[in-house]
């Protein structure tokens, strides 16, 4: 059923009794042209673009739990393409362009809202860095606007502009950035892929890879063997664990990142605001909750919950930037497990094992990359070549000296 205003009215007049489930619940077939492990945003987007752009419809997405139950369900929903390095910016700009047309292409309301993102600066040096970043963005076809303090005072009068230690001088704004309803991204891609014939198999854990003559020819799962000409892995957070079953060691550590939502408040924060003098960012959801977060906890973890020192650090950042949020009550806080790579950038690449492909290492920035990641991973799976904007995301880039380190902090995941 195609979703539209007319389908809502029609079903409304019939007491909503004819809505169908958004995707099937098929039994796994014995073999597919391609299998994607991981029913999160990236895996489902990959399946959708494989079917819609490359005509591969005999494919399956295999998910251990339920789709959208991992990091696509536990992020802070921000989209943007304000990167500095050429290897990154073209990719994220493609991703942002795909966000802009996403709802029409998958026929699903993902509440893509381009309400703008502002990175604040607090010193002359930070202003110079913001100008440089803005120019890099514009060179790659993205948009960037430099705001001075007066512009900001009009938009966000509640910021602590005269902070004695870190006065706010201005900000770099990307107006096309914003936020998206995260769960709807998983559901929308799942439904669109399912309509094109993709099997979405939930509650099916991969227990190993089927290897024949040094090639990967499918996966062992809790629901039996599934053979596949190509196997793509998109399981951020658990990448080392899954790829360990194929005997691979990766330049990845798993870390926990916490996020927070306040009680619902009247609209006050127009877009996304990030603090330049500490690690803190904030936006407001359509329901009114202030959505905010900061740094990763900084140690290996698979626990999906963090510790209090980082909660304190995030709240200090919030109070330094937006003192009024001290009045708001915290409603929820949670943690998600990040693939922290050694240079802070992701991998979309073939592996040394023929037939096995990897999409991983998204650090704390995977959500905004969802459409671009799916698009480029689908391209790689279908054509065996990297997409033009994802050529920097090679697994062997540390060996070749081509690390992609936006922060310049070296092979230390908790500093990215």
């Amino acid at each position: 059923m195609r979703y539209s205003i007319w389908s809502i009215i029609k079903q409304g007049l019939r007491s909503n009794r004819d809505w169908k489930t958004a995707w099937r619940d098929p039994e796994p077939k014995a073999s597919y042209d391609a299998v994607i492990i991981g029913g999160g945003g990236h895996g489902l987007a990959t399946a959708y673009y494989l079917a819609s752009e490359h005509g591969m419809t005999n494919i399956a997405v295999i998910e251990k739990g339920w789709i959208g139950g991992g990091n696509v369900g536990r992020n802070t929903t921000i989209i943007r393409s304000n990167y500095l390095l050429p290897g990154n910016e073209a990719f994220y700009e493609l991703s942002l362009k795909l966000w802009e047309g996403l709802e029409q292409s998958i026929n699903y309301n993902a509440m893509v809202s381009q309400r703008g993102i502002i990175n604040l600066f607090h010193s002359d040096a930070q202003r110079d860095a913001a100008v440089r970043r803005g120019n890099s963005m514009i060179l790659h076809g993205a948009d960037a606007t430099l705001l001075n303090q007066d512009d900001l005072r009009r938009m966000c009068p509640y910021l602590d502009f005269e902070n004695a230690r870190f006065p706010i001088m201005g900000g770099l704004m990307q107006k096309r950035g914003g936020s998206v309803r995260h769960d709807a991204v998983a559901w929308g891609y799942a439904r669109a892929a399912d309509l094109l014939g993709v099997d979405i198999i939930q509650n099916c854990e991969v227990t190993g890879f089927i290897m024949e003559a040094g090639k990967c020819v499918g996966v062992d799962t809790t629901r039996g063997k599934i053979r596949a000409k190509k196997t793509g892995v998109a399981v951020a957070g658990s990448t080392s664990r899954v790829m360990g079953k194929a005997g691979m060691r990766l330049p990845i550590e798993s870390h926990v990142l916490q996020a927070f939502v306040s009680e619902g408040l009247k609209p006050i924060i127009p877009g996304v605001i990030t603090y330049g003098a500490g690690h803190f960012y904030i936006s407001q959801s359509d329901k009114g909750g202030l959505v905010f977060g900061g740094d990763i906890d900084g140690y290996n973890s698979y626990a999906q919950r963090g510790n209090l020192p980082v909660v304190e650090d995030v709240c200090e950042g919030g109070m330094a930037l937006v003192p009024m949020i001290g009045k708001a009550k915290l409603l929820r806080m949670w943690g998600g497990i990040m693939d922290m790579s050694m240079d802070g950038s992701p991998f979309i690449d073939k592996t040394d094992i023929p037939g096995l492909y990897l999409n991983a290492g998204w650090c704390y920035g995977g959500f905004k990359a969802t459409p671009g990641s799916g698009w480029c991973f689908a391209h790689l799976l279908a054509t065996d070549t990297s997409h033009d904007v994802a050529t920097a995301y090679r697994i062997n880039r540390f060996q070749s000296g081509a690390a992609l380190d936006e922060k310049g902090s070296g092979a230390q995941p908790n500093l990215h």
Partner: protein
């Protein structure tokens, strides 16, 4: 998390900074490997690759806001339970005694 420091007793984890897996104690020996490609590979693996297991993990913590000692903490990273804490210098000595 509270880290039971072998010399100072229970300390708040916020006093420490985290480095990573204890494999970082086992720096490759440049004089032991003659072939440059193999040495490059060994250093690449040492600097960039990690086992990144679930469950029990041995890792290096630095007591930066304390006695500035390096500790080897054995921790269940699926539950954050701390199982054992030793001084990194003791661990390094013990491993040298074993391998060389």
């Amino acid at each position: 998390m509270i880290i039971p420091h072998p010399l100072l007793g229970p300390r708040d984890a916020a006093e420490f900074t985290y480095l990573g897996d204890t494999s970082l104690l086992m720096r490759p020996d440049p004089s032991a490997e003659a072939k440059p490609e193999k040495l490059m590979q060994a250093f690449h693996d040492y600097v960039h690759l990690r086992d990144n297991p679930t469950g029990v993990h041995k890792e290096l913590w630095f007591h930066e806001q304390g006695d500035r000692s390096w500790l080897v903490v054995t921790r269940n990273i699926s539950t954050h339970e701390i199982i054992a804490v030793e001084l990194a210098s003791d661990v390094k000595k013990a491993s040298k005694g074993k391998s060389k």
